[in-house]
Protein backbone atom coordinates (compact mmCIF):
# COMPACT_ATOMS: atom_id res chain seq x y z
CA UNK A 1 0.00 0.00 0.00
CA UNK A 2 1.51 3.31 -0.97
CA UNK A 3 1.06 6.18 1.36
CA UNK A 4 0.18 9.76 0.63
CA UNK A 5 2.82 12.41 0.75
CA UNK A 6 3.37 14.46 3.85
CA UNK A 7 1.32 17.60 3.54
CA UNK A 8 3.09 20.18 1.49
CA UNK A 9 3.32 23.52 3.20
CA UNK A 10 2.62 25.99 0.47
CA UNK A 11 2.82 29.16 2.53
CA UNK A 12 0.02 31.52 3.46
CA UNK A 13 -2.75 31.61 0.87
CA UNK A 14 -4.22 34.98 0.06
CA UNK A 15 -7.47 36.13 1.64
CA UNK A 16 -7.31 33.90 4.68
CA UNK A 17 -6.98 34.41 8.43
CA UNK A 18 -3.84 33.26 10.24
CA UNK A 19 -4.05 31.83 13.76
CA UNK A 20 -0.90 31.09 15.75
CA UNK A 21 -1.10 27.87 17.76
CA UNK A 22 1.51 27.16 20.42
CA UNK A 23 2.44 23.55 21.03
CA UNK A 24 2.30 22.49 24.67
CA UNK A 25 5.80 21.05 24.31
CA UNK A 26 8.29 21.34 21.43
CA UNK A 27 8.53 18.33 19.12
CA UNK A 28 11.86 17.29 17.55
CA UNK A 29 12.37 18.47 13.98
CA UNK A 30 12.88 14.86 12.93
CA UNK A 31 9.13 14.35 13.52
CA UNK A 32 8.05 17.47 11.60
CA UNK A 33 6.65 15.42 8.69
CA UNK A 34 4.53 13.43 11.12
CA UNK A 35 3.06 16.71 12.40
CA UNK A 36 2.54 18.13 8.93
CA UNK A 37 0.63 15.18 7.55
CA UNK A 38 -1.99 15.52 10.30
CA UNK A 39 -2.82 19.20 10.53
CA UNK A 40 -5.30 19.44 7.64
CA UNK A 41 -7.21 16.45 9.00
CA UNK A 42 -7.69 18.04 12.45
CA UNK A 43 -10.30 20.56 11.38
CA UNK A 44 -12.01 21.09 8.06
CA UNK A 45 -11.75 24.84 8.74
CA UNK A 46 -7.96 24.71 8.32
CA UNK A 47 -7.05 25.31 4.68
CA UNK A 48 -3.27 25.55 5.04
CA UNK A 49 -0.58 25.78 7.68
CA UNK A 50 3.05 26.46 8.43
CA UNK A 51 5.14 24.87 11.15
CA UNK A 52 6.92 27.23 13.54
CA UNK A 53 10.37 26.02 14.47
CA UNK A 54 13.32 27.14 16.54
CA UNK A 55 16.33 25.46 18.11
CA UNK A 56 14.03 23.49 20.43
CA UNK A 57 12.24 21.89 17.47
CA UNK A 58 8.70 22.50 16.26
CA UNK A 59 7.15 24.89 18.77
CA UNK A 60 3.96 25.96 17.05
CA UNK A 61 1.75 25.86 14.00
CA UNK A 62 0.31 28.80 12.10
CA UNK A 63 -3.00 27.66 10.67
CA UNK A 64 -4.93 29.45 7.94
CA UNK A 65 -8.71 29.52 7.58
CA UNK A 66 -11.37 31.37 5.66
CA UNK A 67 -12.95 32.67 8.86
CA UNK A 68 -11.42 33.39 12.29
CA UNK A 69 -10.94 30.21 14.32
CA UNK A 70 -11.63 29.45 17.97
CA UNK A 71 -7.98 29.46 19.00
CA UNK A 72 -8.42 27.45 22.18
CA UNK A 73 -10.42 24.76 20.38
CA UNK A 74 -7.85 24.41 17.61
CA UNK A 75 -5.01 24.44 20.14
CA UNK A 76 -6.71 21.58 21.96
CA UNK A 77 -7.25 19.59 18.76
CA UNK A 78 -3.66 19.98 17.61
CA UNK A 79 -2.03 19.24 20.95
CA UNK A 80 -4.31 16.27 21.61
CA UNK A 81 -3.56 14.77 18.20
CA UNK A 82 0.16 15.31 18.63
CA UNK A 83 0.04 13.87 22.17
CA UNK A 84 -1.53 10.68 20.82
CA UNK A 85 0.18 10.25 17.48
CA UNK A 86 3.49 12.06 17.45
CA UNK A 87 5.00 12.84 20.84
CA UNK A 88 5.30 9.17 21.92
CA UNK A 89 7.18 8.31 18.74
CA UNK A 90 10.84 7.44 18.84
CA UNK A 91 12.68 9.20 16.06
CA UNK A 92 14.25 6.72 13.68
CA UNK A 93 17.04 7.54 11.26
CA UNK A 94 16.24 8.08 7.60
CA UNK A 95 17.54 5.06 5.71
CA UNK A 96 17.92 4.88 1.96
CA UNK A 97 18.25 1.29 0.73
CA UNK A 98 18.67 2.09 -2.96
CA UNK A 99 19.55 5.14 -4.99
CA UNK A 100 19.45 5.30 -8.77
CA UNK A 101 22.83 5.97 -10.35
CA UNK A 102 20.99 8.35 -12.70
CA UNK A 103 20.71 11.95 -11.61
CA UNK A 104 18.24 13.71 -13.85
CA UNK A 105 17.33 17.40 -13.84
CA UNK A 106 13.59 17.74 -13.31
CA UNK A 107 12.04 20.99 -14.50
CA UNK A 108 8.84 22.41 -13.05
CA UNK A 109 5.66 22.79 -15.04
CA UNK A 110 5.01 19.27 -16.30
CA UNK A 111 1.44 19.16 -15.01
CA UNK A 112 0.64 22.53 -16.57
CA UNK A 113 2.09 21.33 -19.86
CA UNK A 114 -0.02 18.15 -19.70
CA UNK A 115 -3.13 20.19 -18.91
CA UNK A 116 -2.49 22.64 -21.76
CA UNK A 117 -2.09 19.72 -24.15
CA UNK A 118 -5.35 18.20 -22.92
CA UNK A 119 -3.52 15.06 -21.79
CA UNK A 120 -4.88 15.48 -18.27
CA UNK A 121 -8.17 17.09 -17.35
CA UNK A 122 -9.08 17.88 -13.79
CA UNK A 123 -12.64 16.64 -13.27
CA UNK A 124 -12.98 17.33 -9.55
CA UNK A 125 -11.12 17.53 -6.30
CA UNK A 126 -8.25 15.05 -6.47
CA UNK A 127 -9.65 13.58 -9.67
CA UNK A 128 -8.27 13.69 -13.17
CA UNK A 129 -9.03 12.22 -16.57
CA UNK A 130 -6.09 10.82 -18.52
CA UNK A 131 -5.56 10.95 -22.27
CA UNK A 132 -2.85 9.86 -24.67
CA UNK A 133 0.10 9.50 -24.48
CA UNK A 134 -0.39 9.11 -20.77
CA UNK A 135 -2.65 6.11 -21.28
CA UNK A 136 -0.02 4.34 -23.37
CA UNK A 137 2.53 4.94 -20.66
CA UNK A 138 0.09 3.76 -18.02
CA UNK A 139 -0.35 0.43 -19.79
CA UNK A 140 3.36 0.12 -20.55
CA UNK A 141 4.30 0.48 -16.89
CA UNK A 142 1.55 -1.84 -15.75
CA UNK A 143 2.59 -4.56 -18.19
CA UNK A 144 6.22 -4.11 -17.18
CA UNK A 145 5.43 -4.50 -13.48
CA UNK A 146 3.33 -7.61 -14.06
CA UNK A 147 6.12 -9.08 -16.20
CA UNK A 148 8.60 -8.48 -13.38
CA UNK A 149 6.25 -10.33 -11.06
CA UNK A 150 5.64 -13.19 -13.49
CA UNK A 151 9.39 -13.73 -13.83
CA UNK A 152 9.60 -14.10 -10.04
CA UNK A 153 6.73 -16.33 -9.03
CA UNK A 154 3.64 -18.07 -10.36
CA UNK A 155 0.76 -15.63 -10.04
CA UNK A 156 -3.01 -15.45 -10.09
CA UNK A 157 -4.56 -12.31 -11.58
CA UNK A 158 -7.91 -10.89 -10.55
CA UNK A 159 -10.07 -7.92 -11.28
CA UNK A 160 -11.89 -6.90 -8.13
CA UNK A 161 -15.13 -4.95 -7.82
CA UNK A 162 -14.80 -1.26 -7.14
CA UNK A 163 -16.71 -1.50 -3.87
CA UNK A 164 -15.36 -3.24 -0.80
CA UNK A 165 -17.36 -4.17 2.25
CA UNK A 166 -16.89 -2.00 5.31
CA UNK A 167 -16.63 -5.19 7.32
CA UNK A 168 -13.57 -6.22 5.30
CA UNK A 169 -11.89 -2.89 6.00
CA UNK A 170 -12.74 -3.21 9.68
CA UNK A 171 -11.37 -6.76 9.78
CA UNK A 172 -8.16 -5.46 8.22
CA UNK A 173 -7.95 -2.79 10.91
CA UNK A 174 -8.24 -0.02 8.33
CA UNK A 175 -11.16 1.78 9.97
CA UNK A 176 -9.21 2.20 13.20
CA UNK A 177 -5.78 2.84 11.70
CA UNK A 178 -6.77 5.18 8.85
CA UNK A 179 -10.20 6.67 9.63
CA UNK A 180 -9.18 9.90 7.92
CA UNK A 181 -8.87 8.27 4.50
CA UNK A 182 -12.21 6.41 4.46
CA UNK A 183 -14.81 6.89 1.76
CA UNK A 184 -18.21 5.39 2.49
CA UNK A 185 -20.74 4.43 -0.14
CA UNK A 186 -24.37 4.88 0.64
CA UNK A 187 -27.67 4.95 -1.20
CA UNK A 188 -31.23 6.02 -0.61
CA UNK A 189 -33.12 3.67 1.63
CA UNK A 190 -35.51 1.75 -0.60
CA UNK A 191 -38.85 3.03 0.50
CA UNK A 192 -41.44 4.79 -1.60
CA UNK A 193 -41.82 7.48 1.04
CA UNK A 194 -38.10 8.21 0.85
CA UNK A 195 -38.17 8.58 -2.91
CA UNK A 196 -41.20 10.86 -2.72
CA UNK A 197 -39.60 12.95 0.03
CA UNK A 198 -36.53 13.40 -2.12
CA UNK A 199 -38.57 14.31 -5.14
CA UNK A 200 -40.56 16.85 -3.16
CA UNK A 201 -37.72 18.28 -1.07
CA UNK A 202 -35.35 18.76 -3.95
CA UNK A 203 -37.74 19.53 -6.78
CA UNK A 204 -36.29 23.00 -7.18
CA UNK A 205 -33.27 23.04 -4.87
CA UNK A 206 -29.80 21.55 -5.14
CA UNK A 207 -29.09 18.34 -3.26
CA UNK A 208 -27.35 18.96 0.07
CA UNK A 209 -26.31 17.14 3.24
CA UNK A 210 -29.94 16.81 4.38
CA UNK A 211 -30.04 14.04 1.82
CA UNK A 212 -28.12 11.83 4.24
CA UNK A 213 -31.16 11.40 6.45
CA UNK A 214 -32.70 9.36 3.65
CA UNK A 215 -29.68 7.06 3.50
CA UNK A 216 -29.09 4.13 5.76
CA UNK A 217 -26.27 2.06 4.37
CA UNK A 218 -22.65 2.23 5.44
CA UNK A 219 -21.93 -1.38 4.50
CA UNK A 220 -19.67 -0.58 1.53
CA UNK A 221 -16.69 1.66 0.99
CA UNK A 222 -14.45 2.65 -1.85
CA UNK A 223 -11.28 0.56 -1.51
CA UNK A 224 -8.09 2.28 -0.37
CA UNK A 225 -6.00 -0.41 -2.02
CA UNK A 226 -6.37 -3.86 -3.62
CA UNK A 227 -4.79 -6.14 -1.02
CA UNK A 228 -7.81 -6.10 1.30
CA UNK A 229 -9.86 -7.60 -1.53
CA UNK A 230 -7.27 -10.37 -1.73
CA UNK A 231 -7.25 -11.08 2.00
CA UNK A 232 -11.03 -11.14 2.02
CA UNK A 233 -10.99 -13.53 -0.94
CA UNK A 234 -8.71 -15.94 0.97
CA UNK A 235 -10.51 -15.54 4.30
CA UNK A 236 -10.76 -18.80 6.21
CA UNK A 237 -8.65 -20.76 3.73
CA UNK A 238 -5.34 -22.61 3.97
CA UNK A 239 -2.56 -21.74 1.55
CA UNK A 240 1.11 -22.45 1.03
CA UNK A 241 1.19 -26.21 0.44
CA UNK A 242 2.72 -25.69 -3.01
CA UNK A 243 4.80 -22.66 -2.10
CA UNK A 244 3.87 -19.05 -1.66
CA UNK A 245 0.60 -17.79 -3.09
CA UNK A 246 0.93 -14.69 -5.25
CA UNK A 247 -2.08 -12.66 -6.36
CA UNK A 248 -2.11 -9.45 -8.35
CA UNK A 249 -4.80 -6.98 -9.33
CA UNK A 250 -5.07 -3.58 -10.95
CA UNK A 251 -7.86 -1.42 -9.63
CA UNK A 252 -9.12 1.95 -8.58
CA UNK A 253 -8.21 3.06 -5.07
CA UNK A 254 -9.60 5.97 -3.11
CA UNK A 255 -8.26 7.87 -0.14
CA UNK A 256 -9.70 11.08 1.18
CA UNK A 257 -7.01 13.74 1.33
CA UNK A 258 -7.62 16.97 3.14
CA UNK A 259 -5.28 19.07 1.03
CA UNK A 260 -4.52 19.22 -2.64
CA UNK A 261 -2.30 20.79 -5.17
CA UNK A 262 -3.64 20.82 -8.71
CA UNK A 263 -1.27 18.20 -10.03
CA UNK A 264 -1.11 14.44 -10.24
CA UNK A 265 0.97 14.22 -7.08
CA UNK A 266 -1.97 13.70 -4.74
CA UNK A 267 -5.28 12.22 -5.84
CA UNK A 268 -8.48 11.05 -4.16
CA UNK A 269 -9.08 8.63 -6.94
CA UNK A 270 -6.15 6.73 -8.38
CA UNK A 271 -5.15 3.38 -9.84
CA UNK A 272 -3.01 0.85 -8.05
CA UNK A 273 -1.23 -2.28 -9.28
CA UNK A 274 -0.90 -4.44 -6.24
CA UNK A 275 0.81 -7.77 -5.70
CA UNK A 276 0.11 -9.83 -2.59
CA UNK A 277 2.30 -12.67 -1.37
CA UNK A 278 1.14 -15.21 1.22
CA UNK A 279 3.36 -17.94 2.62
CA UNK A 280 5.93 -18.47 5.32
CA UNK A 281 7.69 -15.47 6.75
CA UNK A 282 10.87 -16.46 4.91
CA UNK A 283 9.07 -16.93 1.59
CA UNK A 284 7.23 -13.63 1.56
CA UNK A 285 10.24 -11.66 2.75
CA UNK A 286 12.30 -13.27 -0.04
CA UNK A 287 9.65 -12.36 -2.62
CA UNK A 288 9.49 -8.79 -1.37
CA UNK A 289 13.27 -8.53 -1.65
CA UNK A 290 13.29 -10.11 -5.10
CA UNK A 291 10.68 -7.65 -6.34
CA UNK A 292 12.63 -4.76 -4.88
CA UNK A 293 15.74 -5.85 -6.74
CA UNK A 294 13.83 -6.27 -10.01
CA UNK A 295 12.06 -2.94 -9.70
CA UNK A 296 15.29 -1.11 -8.90
CA UNK A 297 16.95 -2.70 -11.97
CA UNK A 298 13.95 -1.72 -14.10
CA UNK A 299 14.02 1.90 -12.96
CA UNK A 300 17.78 2.10 -13.42
CA UNK A 301 17.60 0.62 -16.93
CA UNK A 302 14.92 3.17 -17.85
CA UNK A 303 17.21 5.92 -16.64
CA UNK A 304 14.90 7.27 -13.96
CA UNK A 305 16.25 9.23 -11.00
CA UNK A 306 14.97 8.15 -7.63
CA UNK A 307 15.59 6.28 -4.45
CA UNK A 308 13.99 3.81 -2.05
CA UNK A 309 13.79 4.45 1.68
CA UNK A 310 12.35 3.05 4.88
CA UNK A 311 8.92 4.52 5.45
CA UNK A 312 5.66 4.19 7.38
CA UNK A 313 1.94 4.28 6.69
CA UNK A 314 -0.08 7.36 7.70
CA UNK A 315 -1.64 5.83 10.81
CA UNK A 316 -3.91 8.36 12.50
CA UNK A 317 -5.40 8.91 15.93
CA UNK A 318 -5.39 5.36 17.26
CA UNK A 319 -4.20 4.35 20.70
CA UNK A 320 -1.33 2.44 19.13
CA UNK A 321 -0.49 4.85 16.30
CA UNK A 322 2.98 5.69 17.57
CA UNK A 323 3.72 2.00 18.20
CA UNK A 324 2.70 1.14 14.65
CA UNK A 325 4.79 3.87 13.11
CA UNK A 326 7.81 2.97 15.20
CA UNK A 327 7.58 -0.75 14.46
CA UNK A 328 7.16 -0.14 10.74
CA UNK A 329 10.20 2.08 10.57
CA UNK A 330 12.49 0.27 12.98
CA UNK A 331 11.69 -3.21 11.65
CA UNK A 332 11.74 -1.90 8.07
CA UNK A 333 8.31 -3.33 7.33
CA UNK A 334 7.76 -0.69 4.66
CA UNK A 335 9.96 0.70 1.91
CA UNK A 336 8.92 3.36 -0.56
CA UNK A 337 10.28 4.12 -4.00
CA UNK A 338 10.34 7.87 -4.48
CA UNK A 339 10.93 9.59 -7.81
CA UNK A 340 11.66 13.30 -8.33
CA UNK A 341 8.80 15.28 -9.89
CA UNK A 342 10.32 18.73 -9.42
CA UNK A 343 13.54 20.41 -8.50
CA UNK A 344 12.84 20.10 -4.78
CA UNK A 345 10.50 17.19 -4.23
CA UNK A 346 9.80 13.54 -4.83
CA UNK A 347 6.64 11.45 -4.74
CA UNK A 348 6.23 7.90 -3.53
CA UNK A 349 5.30 5.83 -6.59
CA UNK A 350 5.45 2.42 -4.99
CA UNK A 351 5.95 0.53 -1.77
CA UNK A 352 7.14 -2.86 -0.58
CA UNK A 353 5.38 -3.96 2.58
CA UNK A 354 5.77 -6.85 5.00
CA UNK A 355 2.69 -7.44 7.17
CA UNK A 356 4.12 -10.19 9.38
CA UNK A 357 1.12 -12.48 10.11
CA UNK A 358 -1.24 -9.58 10.84
CA UNK A 359 -3.66 -10.26 7.98
CA UNK A 360 -3.27 -14.02 8.26
CA UNK A 361 -4.58 -13.68 11.81
CA UNK A 362 -7.22 -11.04 11.00
CA UNK A 363 -8.73 -12.98 8.10
CA UNK A 364 -8.13 -16.49 9.43
CA UNK A 365 -5.82 -17.46 6.56
CA UNK A 366 -3.77 -20.44 7.64
CA UNK A 367 -0.51 -21.78 6.29
CA UNK A 368 -0.52 -25.46 5.43
CA UNK A 369 2.37 -25.95 7.87
CA UNK A 370 0.17 -24.58 10.65
CA UNK A 371 -0.43 -21.15 12.08
CA UNK A 372 -1.45 -17.93 10.37
CA UNK A 373 0.08 -17.18 7.02
CA UNK A 374 2.58 -14.34 6.68
CA UNK A 375 2.05 -11.81 3.92
CA UNK A 376 3.68 -9.03 2.00
CA UNK A 377 2.52 -6.74 -0.74
CA UNK A 378 4.02 -4.56 -3.43
CA UNK A 379 1.93 -1.67 -4.70
CA UNK A 380 2.40 0.99 -7.36
CA UNK A 381 0.36 4.13 -7.81
CA UNK A 382 0.11 4.13 -11.60
CA UNK A 383 -0.79 7.80 -12.10
CA UNK A 384 2.15 8.90 -10.01
CA UNK A 385 4.49 6.51 -11.77
CA UNK A 386 3.67 7.77 -15.26
CA UNK A 387 3.62 11.35 -14.02
CA UNK A 388 7.10 10.99 -12.52
CA UNK A 389 8.29 9.49 -15.82
CA UNK A 390 6.90 12.46 -17.76
CA UNK A 391 8.39 14.92 -15.27
CA UNK A 392 11.78 13.37 -15.92
CA UNK A 393 11.54 12.64 -19.68
CA UNK A 394 8.97 15.15 -20.93
CA UNK A 395 6.13 14.71 -23.41
CA UNK A 396 8.34 14.47 -26.48
CA UNK A 397 8.48 10.74 -27.24
CA UNK A 398 11.79 11.10 -29.07
CA UNK A 399 13.37 11.77 -25.67
CA UNK A 400 11.91 8.64 -24.10
CA UNK A 401 14.01 5.49 -23.56
CA UNK A 402 13.79 3.19 -26.62
CA UNK A 403 12.03 0.43 -24.67
CA UNK A 404 9.24 2.77 -23.67
CA UNK A 405 9.03 4.50 -27.07
CA UNK A 406 8.54 1.24 -28.90
Amino acid sequence: MTRPEPMKVAGPPSGVVATGIKLSLPIPLSLADEIGRRILFLSSDIVDFELVTDTAGVTGVTVYSAEPLDESAVTRKINTALDIDVRPQFATPARVVWRSPVSREVAEGTYEELARAGVVVQTGEGQIALGEPLLELFHYFDRALVDLLKSSVEILQYQYPTLISTETLQTAGYTSAFPHHLFFITRLHNDIDVYRDIQNTYADTPLDERLLRFCRNVDYCLPPTMCYHTFSQYRGTTVGADGPQAVTALGKAFRFEAGYATTMERLWDFTIREMVFMGTRTEVLALRELMMTKVFDFLRELGLSGHCEVSNDPFFGGADTSDRIFSQRMMELKYEVRLPVGSDRTVAVGSFNFHTDLFGRSFGIEHSDGGPVSSACVGFGMERLVYAFLCQFGLDKTNWPPGVRS
Binding site: S30, F90, A91, P93, R281, F326, M331, L333, T356
Partner: protein
Protein backbone atom coordinates in the same frame (compact mmCIF):
# COMPACT_ATOMS: atom_id res chain seq x y z
CA UNK B 1 29.40 -7.98 29.31
CA UNK B 2 27.19 -6.89 32.19
CA UNK B 3 25.68 -10.12 33.53
CA UNK B 4 22.94 -8.23 35.38
CA UNK B 5 21.32 -7.16 32.13
CA UNK B 6 20.64 -10.58 30.62
CA UNK B 7 18.32 -12.03 33.30
CA UNK B 8 16.30 -8.80 33.37
CA UNK B 9 15.79 -9.03 29.60
CA UNK B 10 14.75 -12.68 29.92
CA UNK B 11 12.35 -11.80 32.74
CA UNK B 12 10.70 -9.17 30.53
CA UNK B 13 10.38 -11.51 27.55
CA UNK B 14 9.30 -14.63 29.46
CA UNK B 15 5.57 -13.80 29.69
CA UNK B 16 5.49 -13.39 25.92
CA UNK B 17 6.87 -16.83 25.12
CA UNK B 18 3.92 -19.02 26.02
CA UNK B 19 6.12 -21.39 28.00
CA UNK B 20 8.66 -21.85 25.20
CA UNK B 21 12.36 -21.50 25.91
CA UNK B 22 14.37 -18.75 24.28
CA UNK B 23 18.01 -19.04 23.29
CA UNK B 24 20.28 -16.07 23.42
CA UNK B 25 20.37 -15.74 19.63
CA UNK B 26 16.75 -16.60 18.81
CA UNK B 27 15.00 -13.90 16.77
CA UNK B 28 12.05 -13.12 19.06
CA UNK B 29 10.10 -11.49 16.24
CA UNK B 30 10.68 -14.25 13.68
CA UNK B 31 9.58 -16.94 16.15
CA UNK B 32 6.11 -15.43 16.16
CA UNK B 33 5.72 -15.09 19.92
CA UNK B 34 5.30 -11.32 19.64
CA UNK B 35 3.80 -9.09 16.99
CA UNK B 36 5.50 -6.11 15.44
CA UNK B 37 3.94 -3.67 17.92
CA UNK B 38 6.03 -5.34 20.61
CA UNK B 39 9.01 -3.41 19.24
CA UNK B 40 7.75 -0.25 20.95
CA UNK B 41 7.15 -2.06 24.25
CA UNK B 42 10.65 -3.47 24.07
CA UNK B 43 12.24 -0.09 23.37
CA UNK B 44 10.31 1.49 26.25
CA UNK B 45 11.33 -1.37 28.56
CA UNK B 46 15.00 -0.92 27.67
CA UNK B 47 14.87 2.81 28.40
CA UNK B 48 12.99 2.42 31.64
CA UNK B 49 14.65 -0.69 33.01
CA UNK B 50 18.21 0.41 32.30
CA UNK B 51 17.70 4.14 32.74
CA UNK B 52 19.06 5.08 29.34
CA UNK B 53 17.90 7.08 26.35
CA UNK B 54 17.67 5.42 22.98
CA UNK B 55 18.63 7.72 20.12
CA UNK B 56 17.82 7.48 16.40
CA UNK B 57 21.20 5.85 15.88
CA UNK B 58 20.17 2.95 18.15
CA UNK B 59 17.01 2.24 16.16
CA UNK B 60 18.41 -0.59 14.11
CA UNK B 61 16.24 -3.70 14.14
CA UNK B 62 19.32 -5.86 14.63
CA UNK B 63 19.70 -4.27 18.10
CA UNK B 64 16.33 -5.64 19.20
CA UNK B 65 15.92 -9.07 17.61
CA UNK B 66 17.72 -11.28 20.14
CA UNK B 67 18.60 -11.31 23.81
CA UNK B 68 22.28 -11.12 22.90
CA UNK B 69 21.69 -8.04 20.75
CA UNK B 70 19.65 -6.29 23.44
CA UNK B 71 22.33 -6.99 26.05
CA UNK B 72 25.01 -5.62 23.69
CA UNK B 73 22.92 -2.51 23.09
CA UNK B 74 22.38 -1.89 26.80
CA UNK B 75 26.05 -2.49 27.53
CA UNK B 76 27.07 -0.07 24.82
CA UNK B 77 24.63 2.58 26.03
CA UNK B 78 25.55 2.26 29.69
CA UNK B 79 29.26 1.99 29.01
CA UNK B 80 29.50 -1.37 30.74
CA UNK B 81 32.88 -3.04 30.56
CA UNK B 82 32.75 -5.67 27.87
CA UNK B 83 34.62 -8.92 27.85
CA UNK B 84 36.10 -9.91 24.52
CA UNK B 85 34.23 -12.89 23.17
CA UNK B 86 37.39 -14.31 21.59
CA UNK B 87 40.66 -14.11 23.46
CA UNK B 88 43.69 -13.31 21.35
Amino acid sequence: MNDAVRPRVHDFLKPKLGGHSLSENDDIFALGYVNSLFAMQLARFIQREFDLELTPGDMNFDNFRTVDAIVRLVDAKTGARTTPEVCP
